[in-house]
């Protein structure tokens, strides 16, 4: 297993959850992300916006440890992605709450059972986590639908179930890939505010979206991605001054 050097470890202990340095990544022959430099810290919300096919989902796959890097260095939750073994990556993954654009569920299970999966995997018994999951169900506003099979839920309800599942394991890093897609602007802003609330418990949040206006919903570190290259967006005041 690859061990972190003391400098990397200190970074993680100082709250740097993600640090990408000149990272390239992609699929097959295509390199989608090029020379990416990105950082996310505990207690902060990073919003990455960009047009379709800019590389937002690929960035999310990289951050959720599902995509290997081709060059550069990626430190994610204390794991050096390029050198870490399966066990270390799995340990890091358990600290990540991931909300996919099209979340995968066990369709015949109820929403409640799907939400409790992360807790179930830690070996906890239903009587131990039942109350926590009920609180999450209320927090994301699923209500009575929690007892229905996921296959019977609407798209918006599925998205809420995905958020609840991502939060159930009390993750240190929350990744949301276009969580407001297909929602009304009001619902989208509500979801972003809900995710942003998690910074209050010390988690880092990374949200990708096409919707630039989400930056106004909550205090965020705003990044822009275009054609696989990422850069920090100018703060609103700076942008106005530039205009």
């Amino acid at each position: 297993m690859a061990r972190l050097n003391p400098i990397d470890l200190e970074l993680f202990e100082r709250g740097v959850l993600i640090r990408l340095s000149d990272v390239d990544a992609g699929y097959g022959a295509a390199t989608v992300l090029m020379g990416v430099n990105f950082e996310a810290r505990a207690g902060e919300v990073a919003l990455v916006t960009g047009p379709a096919a800019a590389g937002k989902t690929t960035l999310t796959h990289l951050l959720r440890l599902a995509l290997p890097i081709r060059s550069g260095r990626a430190l994610i939750l204390g794991a050096d992605v390029g050198r870490a073994g399966e066990r270390q990556l799995a340990q890091a993954k358990r600290k990540i709450g991931y909300i996919a654009e099209n979340p995968t569920f066990i369709e015949q299970w109820s929403a409640f059972d799907n939400i409790s999966m992360p807790l179930r995997m830690t070996g906890r018994k239903p009587r131990e986590y039942g109350e926590d999951v009920r609180e999450l169900v209320d927090f994301v506003g699923i209500g009575e639908a929690a007892d229905l099979p996921v296959a019977q839920l609407s798209g918006a309800e599925r998205r809420r179930v995905a958020i609840a599942r991502a939060l159930a394991g009390k993750p240190e890093l929350i990744l949301a890939d276009d969580p407001t897609a297909g929602m009304s602007p009001a619902d989208g802003k509500r979801v972003v505010r809900l995710l942003s609330e998690m910074r209050r418990v010390g988690a880092g949040v990374v949200i990708t979206s096409q919707d630039e206006s989400l930056a106004e919903c909550a205090p965020v570190q705003h990044w822009r991605i275009e054609r696989g290259r990422i850069s920090k967006a100018a703060a609103p005041l700076e942008a106005e001054a530039q205009e």
Binding site: G26, R64, A92, K93, R94, T104, I106, E107
Partner: protein
């Protein structure tokens, strides 16, 4: 853990039950063939004929009968009459032979105790010699008239049953891969939540193994009942009580092995497929 039967198509369970049923029947059939072959071999080796060479005349036959009464390996001894000789010759030659046409024969039929590895003929000739009789012992031929067939039957039955069981195990293995494919979303979710390959594939393998065990037990039980029914119909005068006495513990081996084999094959198939799906989910690009 979820109910292992939830969401699993009935066709999959029926496939596993059928595979276990067929494999058990093949095993029981092989065991029956094995027992018939052993019985046949015992029958052949439990019979011999003593041909008295000297002394000539009725005294020689009487002395031989007296010596055989105390000879090792001999259960019973009976002088072969002309009627019996004619009957045997007619039976073997396929042509009716009259007892009157049979010449004076100096043969004694003997029934032997099972003595594996012993020089039966040598021991009997020695015992006859001690009684003052020169004779030879004619045993069942080794290579003709069925000699050696039983060993070949037993070997063929064993390997045939094993090959058939392997074929059924392959079917179970493939069916279990189908189960893993149906649980792909579970593997993907577990992978996303940080489960290692061994954890995700182990979870699916456990489910498949439990399913294989239940289905295998059902198939084996059905095969056992079917085999019992066939035996009651085929064996004259057989009843449940006599069957119970006839069946040896070793006859039950296929019934015990089928559920275990089904569980192992199903677990292995599902584990392999789930590990593959986990690898796909874990690493894009």
């Amino acid at each position: 853990m979820k109910n292992p039967f939830a969401g699993v198509e009935r066709a999959l369970i029926l496939t596993l039950v059928f595979a276990a049923f067929a494999a058990t029947l093949a095993g029981l059939g092989a065991r029956a063939a094995d027992r018939l072959a052993v019985h046949y071999e015992q029958q052949r080796s439990a019979y011999a004929v003593v041909r008295v060479l000297a002394p000539e005349g009725p005294e020689g036959m009487a002395a031989a009968e007296a010596a055989l009464a105390h000879a090792p390996h001999v259960l019973t001894a009976a002088r072969m009459t002309a009627n019996r000789a004619a009957e045997l010759l007619s039976q073997w030659g396929g042509v009716e032979i009259s007892p009157a046409s049979v010449p004076d024969i100096r043969l004694i039929e003997i029934e032997l105790t099972p003595s594996p590895g012993a020089d039966v003929a040598g021991d009997i000739v020695a015992a006859l010699a001690q009684g003052g009789v020169t004779a030879e012992v004619i045993e069942a031929p080794r290579e003709i008239a069925g000699g050696g067939v039983s060993a070949r039957v037993r070997t063929a039955a064993l390997w045939g049953a094993l090959a058939f069981a392997a074929l059924m195990a392959a079917i179970v293995w493939l069916a279990a891969r189908g189960l893993a494919a149906r649980r792909r979303e579970l593997v993907t979710v577990m992978c996303d939540l940080g489960a290692m390959r061994s954890q995700a594939s182990g979870r699916i393998a456990d489910e498949a193994a439990v399913l294989g065990l239940y289905a295998g037990a059902a198939g084996a039980a059905l095969a056992g009942l079917a085999a019992g029914a066939v035996m009651l119909l085929v064996i004259p005068g057989a009843s449940v009580e006599t069957l119970r006495d006839m069946i040896l513990p070793i006859d039950l081996a296929p019934i015990v092995a089928a559920p275990l084999g089904a569980a192992v094959a199903a677990g292995a198939g599902a584990r392999g497929a789930a590990a593959h799906f986990h690898a796909q989910a874990a690493r894009l690009g």
